[in-house]
Symmetry: C2
Subunit: 413 residues, 2 copies
């Protein structure tokens, strides 16, 4: 939690990952984020993983530090309140992040008639408005046919990290900050459309993978756990632990050869093939079977502890394969002593390590991450302070079922 963007007020009307992740990043940098939901919660309110009491750790993770307003969005009065929150005055307000349908009561055009300088960032599945989620986008850009063991060309393997959601969310955050900057100069609002499928297509293009296929006419096959185009693969240690070893640069390659005492066999291989593995990263990939066999044998001689020591002192680029539980238990730098994490109690009643923003800023002290809000906990505050709804009107909104406040607030005082 940093206070770099403390002037900015963002309203979120959204669910699942991409849009809430966008506003989470802005919130962690200091923006005031108000999320509104239907009374009872949006479609992501019970998304797994769940805690022992059935609360969603996913929802808590994505919404920590935000204000929560719960409205009956099926009633015209509830929709009016949502519109009023989105378009509330203030030069640093008027920023709306959503995945609601493009047409309807939260359309950018209708909101603009209330606040013309509104910046709306809208996450879509496809650019034409067709539905899509991370998993349906991922299969359509070819990733599952490149993932997994070599040879199984027709067996797609899905990713488990919702990378496209997360990238769409961070792209939306970059876009919103750029649009705010632009609005300051020009006074103009903006409807920003961020389709998941275009984030995926653009990313493949940026990594050279569309050029590769368009120019060569051939798809990239599966290469198992091998890194494409240089040296890298998983190897087993003497104690059954596995490591990922990478040598993209000459320096990393030299470090690996030195750490495993492989000068002799590698020099012999280079002489036999008439190549330089140090200067030609592509040769390390083309001849990976030969190299892998040499490295495999060497790695298998060491326990993970012994190997790690050798690798660290030589500067080899490597990582240990482990489960989340192993990472939590074996490596204090992962979470336990990591300054980006703090133990925070959330509305689920569970206290657990909660991350703040992953980057650190030298001119600002890091503050502990906030807990997630209880659903609707800030309804009264937002309505009275932002919309200046009088207390009597609050009670009436509650009685009509437009909002739901804790009973004690409605007792006559």
């Amino acid at each position: 939690m940093y206070r770099l963007l403390s002037d900015i007020r963002v309203v979120e009307g959204a669910s699942f990952i991409a849009a809430p992740y966008c506003t989470l990043l802005l919130s962690q940098l200091g923006a005031d984020v108000i999320r509104f939901d239907a009374i009872g919660g949006g479609p992501d309110y019970r998304r797994w993983p769940l805690g022992p009491g059935g609360d969603s750790f996913y929802w808590e993770g994505l919404n920590k530090g935000k204000k929560s307003v719960a409205l009956n969005l099926a009633m015209p009065e509830g929709r009016e309140l949502a519109i009023a929150i989105v378009t509330a005055e203030g030069k640093d307000g008027g920023i709306f992040v959503t995945n609601y349908p493009e047409t309807g009561f939260l359309s950018h055009d209708s909101l603009c008639s209330v606040r013309p300088d509104l910046v709306t960032a809208r996450i879509l599945g496809h650019a034409d408005g067709a539905s899509a989620v991370d998993y349906t986008v991922n299969c359509a850009v070819g990733i599952p046919y490149m993932t997994g063991p070599e040879g199984d060309e027709h067996v797609p393997i899905n990713h488990v990290l919702p990378a496209w959601d997360l990238l769409a969310g961070s792209t939306a955050a970059v876009s919103v900050l750029a649009a705010i900057e632009y609005r300051k100069c020009t006074g103009l609002g903006q409807h920003i459309r961020i389709p998941l499928s275009d984030v995926a297509a653009a990313t493949l293009g940026t990594l050279g993978q569309i050029a590769e296929v368009a120019i060569s006419g051939a798809d990239r096959p599966k290469f198992g756990n091998s890194l494409y185009g240089a040296f890298g693969r998983d190897f087993g240690c003497a104690d059954g632990k596995r490591v990922m070893i990478v040598a993209l640069t000459s320096k990393q390659w030299k470090a690996l050869i030195a750490a495993l005492d492989l000068e002799t066999p590698i020099r012999a291989l280079e002489a036999e093939l008439g190549i330089s593995l140090e200067s030609d990263e592509g040769a390390r990939f083309l001849h990976r079977e030969r190299i892998d066999a040499i490295v495999e044998q060497a790695v298998a001689r060491y326990t993970l502890a012994a190997l790690s020591q050798r690798f660290k002192s030589s500067g080899v680029c490597f990582g240990v394969y482990r489960t989340v539980q192993e990472a939590l238990t074996d490596d204090p730098s992962f979470v336990e002593s990591n300054p980006i994490f703090a133990n925070v109690e959330h509305p689920s009643g569970c206290r657990y390590p909660t991350p703040g923003f992953p980057a650190s800023f030298s001119s600002e002290a890091r503050r502990n991450p906030y807990p997630a809000p209880a659903l609707g906990q800030d309804t009264e505050e937002v309505l009275t302070t932002l919309l200046r709804v009088p207390s009597a009107a609050l009670a009436s909104l509650h009685d009509q079922g437009v909002i739901r406040l804790p009973d004690r607030l409605l007792s006559p005082s």
Copy 2:
């Protein structure tokens, strides 16, 4: 390419994905990005995939639209020029994105002694400065042990999308824009440190996966291609094509049941198990074997074309598994008629579909993406216009080997 950030000047001294991706996003939003490299190129200059002439499509993809300056960074004079470019005056300059080592001639502190309000965004492997890349971070946060076929618990499967690099890059872009905003208010510069490993750890926390393991004490196993916690899996059509079908929400679930005429068997299953699959997304996951068998049989009755038609008219959330080549050939909306792509000729001599920024902005017309620069093509321009190096001095820098200019520029005029 949009002109939202056209006042900003960013200098990149970096290689590979994360830092260049950060500045690519800023460049696509209008920032003037100057990348400097060693003469002959940095360690990413030959990164695969390569074009027919050995040029890197990867490098072209990540550096399109940037200015390229090539300097002899092994010489003190070359390093001085790099420092001068990073710290050049101008209120919207002084922004530096790098993955150079934290100590050394490009340390934030030494650069700050020249320009105190400098914003440096530094991508690191680990927070303590230890080396790490996407693949070595991914294995250490448990993803490969959650990926792939159920049962193969001890067979890690690497991802092929460098998601942590991309997320670190976009997190850096968000951070840089926040730091610029903060500098405008306070005059303060900033050293922003973005460790890949912390981006990964924070993301797992944000998705609820650290809470899940910390509270339950158990790791999440592999679930094959099944989506965790709701309904979703890949299914085969009558013609051998595969689709990913997802039902996270009640609406998506109802659409699927309607599209496949599954009311009767699903109602029977619900009655047998005493559950409501429409209202309880978790039940769709817990009983996935039973549901999958019903859906599998239904999907197998249709060709992909027939199924797509049914799914589209019912609003089912689904995607087709395809290779990049199939996506390019079969689906004009992917690239061919997609307004975010344009055919651009790059320094490799190849012309191919090149993506611009994946989001669109209503107040700004989209401009075509630029080609990548030829290495060092902007050295003379940047030195003469930004650093105001006189022409005679340019020639002398060339003769000393500090920079390399095309010969014609050095001939006496």
